[in-house]
Symmetry: C2
Subunit: 156 residues, 2 copies
DNA sequence: TCCTTCTCTTGACCTAGTCAAGACAACGGT
DNA sequence: ACCGTTGTCTTGACTAGGTCAAGAGAAGGA
């Protein structure tokens, strides 16, 4: 199962180029990054890469099914290499940290909308908003109350 | 239960102004609108209202719990007056149309992430992506295949 | 090696939205 | 009814994040 990035690019009908390999390299090392961070990190390997090239590469990777784009409200789009499985995300309201989370029950009943209003649904996107471990600690240290007092459970 | 906008604004600790009433009026007539559409529509009632005033008013309304802001990926933020209940949204990939949908099972099991990775979760946001009835018809007419062939069911 | 085609670079442009300063209006007190 | 305080609106500059188009350059098949 030794599938290299080169193979995967070719399988997706994409040419193998230095910018693309650099971007894939960065994505492999960082689970959820925005385009700007990718550009900065990729420049360490391939100094001449332009921000627009990164956008182009990312669009190609997403189009080819090698990467996935997520767009949390109130922040830049993030990219990840974990594709094909049905996983969702935990997003920290404070620092924007993102963690993957598997759906507890797969194609769950609540993910089939009760009244579809004539829509044909093909994807259910779930984002859990909250506070990451680090920001909980930071809040407690600043006397903003305990982290457990922040919400009254999960609103669905 | 005759609660006027004026009452609601005061209850939220907000002053009652013409721009705010205009915006509330527009929101009452359109379930999901972006700031620009609100500005255009509000100008019919209050011609001198500025785009920035609309942003300010919307921020105040959201802060006061009179409106809710939703930010579907790839589009401007939308605002709605339906607040306080736990409802989600169906978004059309083609035309951006939005429909409300109640969660089928309330605080459902799948909305409690299996592994929270140290996060304290206070909200679960669900967006169903698909094709609205109108766009299904439009696709069929243009020979892009049947609408029912677009997705293989709901991915969770 | 050559040629075609795709991809990258460069640079202009765009949307959606924020921030700051001052004019103005709302509303509590007299 | 008026006045003063304070919150809100107008005006205008500015920002982030991202798209679009044209041409230079590299990838890969013949």
């Amino acid at each position: 199962m030794e599938t290299t990035w080169e193979h995967r690019l070719r399988n997706a009908g994409l040419r193998v180029t230095r910018p693309r390999l650099s971007v894939l390299d960065v994505l492999a090392g960082h689970p959820h990054v925005d385009a700007d961070t990718i550009a900065t990190a990729a420049r360490a390997v391939h100094p001449s890469i332009s921000p627009q090239a990164v956008y182009g590469v990312l669009k190609a990777l997403v189009g080819g099914g090698l990467a996935r784009r997520i767009e949390p409200a109130g922040g830049p789009a993030l990219y990840e290499l974990r594709v094909g499985d049905n996983h969702h995300h935990l997003v920290c309201r404070e620092c924007g940290a993102v963690a993957d989370v598997d759906c507890a029950v797969g194609a769950a009943p609540c993910l089939t909308p009760s009244a579809a209003a004539g829509f044909v649904v093909d994807e259910a996107e779930v984002v859990f908003w909250g506070l990451c471990a680090d920001c909980q600690v930071a809040r407690r240290q600043h006397g903003y109350g305990t982290a457990t007092a922040i919400g009254e459970g999960v609103g669905a």
